[in-house]
């Protein structure tokens, strides 16, 4: 029980410490993403070469979702999400304003 209490305290402190941090994902300027990533053409290898690793989720289907953060000022970020199909090609992208 004591250990659980300590874990809870650590989690709460971690939450406070990261409250103002950038959301997970490599930070890349929106213009670079728009210019570089083309659905139906860009490959996973090209994404890695251009922007390095970022936060991603891989699914049993072989699809992957990768997310980048584009600074928009005032400590805010737009999300750029990329869907990669099992063959390693970007099939969809989307941007979410902060």
């Amino acid at each position: 029980m004591k250990a659980a209490y300590l874990i809870l305290c650590a989690a709460l402190l971690a939450g406070c410490a990261t409250q103002n941090a950038a959301p997970p994902g490599a930070q890349v300027a929106a213009e670079r993403l728009q210019q570089t990533v083309v659905a139906g053409q860009t490959t996973k290898a090209q994404l890695l070469a251009a922007f390095g690793p970022t936060k991603s989720v891989r699914f049993d289907s072989g699809f992957e979702a990768w997310v980048y953060q584009s600074p928009v000022g005032a400590g805010q970020f737009a999300e750029f999400v990329v869907l990669i199909d099992p063959s390693g090609v970007v099939t969809k992208t989307r941007t979410r304003a902060p």
Binding site: A4, P23, P24, G25, K55, S56, V57, F59, D60, S61, F63, A65, V67, E79, V81, L83, T91, K92, R94, R96
Partner: protein
Amino acid sequence: MSGLLMATAASLPAHAAGQNTVTVKSTRDPVDKSYRKMIRGMERFERERAFAPNASLRFQLLPRLPNVDMRGITLRVAGDTVSVPVPVDENNFFVLPRNPQALQEDAAVLASRKTASMTWRARIETPGVPAGMRRLGDLRLECRVGKEAGLVSNSSPLFGWISDALDSPEGVCTSPDGNYLFFAERPIFAVTLRAGERVETLPFSMLYAGGEQTPDMLPFCDCQVLLDRTYYVPLWDASWPDDTLVEFTYMVDAMIDMPAGVAP
């Protein structure tokens, strides 16, 4: 906890426990669903219909493990003396019948699959919601009914510990940290809320169980094989009315049925 104590007691020699030997022919799988709890979920649906005044309630069976065959599942309510078959449709939806005898006998709801191979959810749908969308009030009520009915099948000790502190319907369904998982019909790429002129796409952190599930953690989440269909919605955020529509953009667009011999 009582099950653990019973199991511990059962592992002791009879003389050590100072009791006579008792032969237990069977034990109820703790993952099986309690009929009483599911009925309590149905009662909560009736009490809180204001979230979804015209909606109907069903329950749904969903895959929990890879390779589980979800076709032809049969379901029954099983008590000490009563056994009531429950029809399951081709999409694994069912309506739970009310049976006073089963309630009195504290029956279990048993499916013809290993219980750890599936998870369960309430499904509440208001008529007239456009195809490919859900209604936020329906989801708010699904969370309350689902938690009341004890449907979520997360199995990690950590999840269990969290459950102790947070697992009430109020804790889960009214808190930003409640994290009640919903499953879309197909793998999703985006989820967008629409309420009148207000339109907002949910952040990445509200898809795919937050995107935080490592391969080691995933088997403990009942999203294990549904990760690409998994999303949270801001149930707690009263600035989104119950009539808010939840719209899905799927990973793969729907195939258009074409006449035979016609290339798409």
